[in-house]
């Protein structure tokens, strides 16, 4: 353990954490789009589409995210004859995984809006679409926000599991370094502290946003 150790490990972890965040943020943004569509379907009466959405959520909930990553990286490309980069697969997996969990959050938020407000809006001559955009979504978003933020934190941590498909995020970098340098104890300690600090910042941010919105 010396200066040189830190000079090597810290830049690696920083570049790894950048990738972690890139994958988590893009993944969760796509996830929110998926979840908004699925959440809307779940609280509607589109019976047939609903079955597909429920099947998707069931598959995601009933399999570990690591297996999902392995499947999308090693199996799906063979089935459809296309190759994806590991990072792309990472984003797809985070998006599909967080999308399924956030669908339930968004469905619940939409259902929690008092139907009287929708009735008031359409009684004023607003279209269903205008009612959704101006009357239902703003309070529903406020209700969903803590849950969505929570999923974001989970997804940031889930990116560590993408090391199994060779995504070069922080955990994967640390694994490589520990194996080559035989310095498992300091490497993983630094890695753990790294996550601890970053996730703590996110938790503080979450509290702050919640207070701001409440």
């Amino acid at each position: 353990m010396n200066i040189q150790f830190y000079q090597t490990i810290l830049p690696m972890l920083f570049s790894g954490i950048k990738l972690t965040f890139m994958i988590a943020i893009i993944g969760i943004l796509i996830g929110i789009v998926i979840a908004s569509l699925c959440g809307f379907v779940l609280q509607s009466n589109f019976k047939i589409i609903k079955i597909f959405v429920e099947a998707y959520i069931w598959v995601i909930r009933a399999t570990p995210i690591m297996v999902q990553a392995l499947y999308v990286y090693y199996v799906i490309p063979k089935l459809i004859g296309l190759d994806f980069k590991a990072n792309t697969v990472g984003i797809i997996v985070i998006a599909l995984n967080s999308g399924a969990f956030m669908s339930e959050i968004i469905k619940g938020a939409l259902l929690s809006i008092d139907p009287g407000q929708k009735e008031a809006a359409v009684s004023l001559g607003l279209s269903n679409f205008q009612t959704m955009i101006h009357v239902v979504i703003p309070p529903a978003f406020k209700i969903a926000l803590p849950g969505l933020f929570n999923q974001f934190i989970i997804s940031v941590k889930d990116t560590a599991l993408l090391s199994v498909i060779t995504v070069n995020e922080a955990t994967h970098q640390a694994q490589n370094y520990a194996a080559l340098s035989f310095q498992a104890i300091p490497t993983y300690t630094v890695l753990a502290v790294f996550y601890l600090v970053i996730i703590s910042v996110l938790i503080i941010l979450q509290k702050w946003v919640e207070k701001k919105m409440g």
Partner: protein
């Protein structure tokens, strides 16, 4: 102006409206009274199609608005509704609540909508609350905002569903005063209410509904003071003793 013909409404097995016929003329104030569960709310909600009537017609200026080809938004823009529980939009200020629909549906400019909204808030005595949020207001104030919101569409008529039933007794008066002013200005109104004093004073006509029918209708002095039907007498006697 609004003519309801042979309106029927079932909820599954339950026949709530069996055969309702009502004709509302321009400028008329019609109060609808009747026991709880007799279908008064359902009647109003079937008119502006918050509920879909099982059968029957609603003619508005001669056009059947229950017809699938009719765009109900047009009717809703012209005939507003005020709810028992106010139903204000909680994340919008009072002013935003009142401005929203005119801006979205009538393509009024924001400035124009704002001017009208402030005028209406003044009319209901709440111009100082323009920037408040609904949760900061009393029930009576919220209901007056809801009335201003409905008026912002410059409606031809208004439907009221027990507008004072969710209010503390001391707040009822302010809301009724606003409604009284509207009646004086010639607004066409259908008011479901338990406020017999208001009905007596303001209504041009009172309709007594029970068991899915209009049992009796006529001038307030007739229906409320000299009811002909046994059913009406029983209902009113409960109010006198209450």
């Amino acid at each position: 102006m609004i003519e309801v013909r042979h309106m029927k409404k079932n909820f599954g097995e339950l026949e709530v409206l069996r055969d309702v016929n009502v004709h509302i003329h321009p400028g008329e104030v019609v109060c609808v009274i009747g026991p709880s569960g007799s279908g008064k709310s359902t009647f109003l909600r079937c008119i502006n199609q918050l509920e879909t009537a099982t059968s029957g017609e609603v003619l508005y200026h001669g056009e059947n608005i229950l017809d699938k080809k009719y765009d109900i938004r047009k009717f809703r823009e012209e005939v507003g509704m005020v709810f028992q529980r106010f139903n204000l939009f909680p994340l919008k200020t009072v002013l935003e609540n009142v401005m929203l629909a005119p801006v979205l549906t009538k393509h009024k400019s924001k400035e124009e909508a704002k001017r009208l909204a402030m005028e209406l808030l003044e009319k209901v005595g709440l111009e100082t609350k323009a920037d408040a949020y609904p949760a900061m207001l009393s029930g009576g104030q919220q209901q007056r905002v809801a009335i201003a919101r409905a008026l912002a569409m410059q409606p031809q008529a208004l439907l009221f569903d027990e507008p004072t039933s969710a209010l503390d007794p001391e707040l009822v008066g302010d809301v009724l005063n606003v409604m009284r002013d509207l009646a004086k200005e010639g607004m066409t109104m259908i008011v479901v209410t338990h406020e017999m004093g208001f009905a007596k004073e303001v209504a041009d006509r009172v309709i007594f509904m029970a068991d899915g029918y209009v049992v009796e209708e006529g001038k307030p002095s007739e229906v409320l003071e000299n009811p002909k039907e046994e059913r009406t007498k029983t209902f009113l006697s409960r109010f006198l003793t209450a």
